[in-house]
Symmetry: C2
Subunit: 207 residues, 2 copies
């Protein structure tokens, strides 16, 4: 039952997994057909039957979108990493993904969130280490003590957020950097997002 998939079957399986991950729901036969340019759902149906026969998926008959993916190796899915946090201050966010990271399905992202890879040990006092992936959520209001990603002038920083009476203070984890007080001097100040989580994959190599 460990038969190999053909090229096309592999592509369809990949598409199934991709859809289930990015959209949350598996596609219908019609959607698959449309994606691959097939004029007929039956073509897809036959491919799915072949894939199921080889044990890679399981279909719940009669139900729409009821395709269960049974491949164990596909636990990890690639997600784009759009920037790096390095050496305390400067943060670069590239227009395109600089890299992808294999994220377990457990760490599915909050909507619109993005990933940044941490370089260097500037955040080590927050127990975040080089190579770790931080999940940044742009849709939340920052609360005191949270680690935020913010833009000052042209640079971006990753610091702890504290809202005082009339000002906002950004405190670095690294004691070498003084807190930044936000006032009129920073007209372009903007909170990009809040670091809601840290993830580190252990599956690839030993640390």
């Amino acid at each position: 039952m460990k038969t190999e998939l053909t090229e096309i079957q592999k592509k369809i399986l990949d598409y199934l997994i991709d859809q289930k991950i990015s959209k949350g729901i598996p596609p219908t036969l019609a959607e698959i057909a449309s994606h691959f340019g097939y004029k007929n759902r039956a073509t897809v149906q036959q491919h799915l039957q072949a894939i199921e026969k080889k044990g890679y998926i399981k279909k719940n008959p009669k139900l729409s979108r009821a395709i269960e993916i049974t491949v164990e190796e596909k636990f990890f899915i690639p997600r784009p990493v759009i920037g790096e946090v390095a050496a305390g201050n400067p943060l670069t966010i590239y227009p395109d993904a600089i890299d992808t990271v294999e994220l377990p399905t457990i760490a599915r992202m909050p909507k619109d969130s993005f990933l940044l890879r941490v370089k260097g040990d500037s955040l080590k006092d927050a127990y975040i280490f080089s190579g770790d992936i931080v999940i940044v959520n742009p849709n939340l209001e920052p609360k005191n003590g949270q680690i935020v990603v913010a833009i000052l002038d042209d640079a971006a920083v990753v610091k702890r957020f504290y809202k005082k009476k009339n000002e906002i203070e950004l405190v670095s984890e690294n004691p070498d950097y003084k807190p930044i007080v936000i006032d009129k001097k920073y007209p372009s100040f903007k909170i990009v997002g809040i670091v809601v989580g840290v993830y580190r994959s252990m599956s690839k190599k030993a640390v």
Copy 2:
């Protein structure tokens, strides 16, 4: 547009979220009706329309299962934590969850995987700290250097896995513990799972 949901509408929304998380796909009208004991899909339909009107979901008309959940606050969902790793060696896996942890979103675990909370700094050399959540996947074959959860006699341990020629060695992160060599002396030896990732939530409180 910030109208409150009624009790029933709230229950239906919870069900939608729950299904999307546990099964990966939103239910159909019929499935919702069946779950709540309704004899009619139209009842569900009207509830969904009401929920949509209040802005909590968004429906893609004509498409099956195309219910998008738009509630921002629901980014974090509780997942059970079934045990603790503490003080180097002993690991306790409780039959029921000892706690729940708020995981970002829509989180879908690798199949059959479970979560353990780390207590103490016994794994700090692997950059895993007290309070962190480790994701354990029981369905993978361990490779050298990976951190595994294993059972020896009655105790369970979390250590690095190394397969030598004729034996298996479990190496502790903590230098105070000597490596354990697996042979006939441990008839009940069993790999419970592999630590595939570490997650730490940053949203609640400052570290």
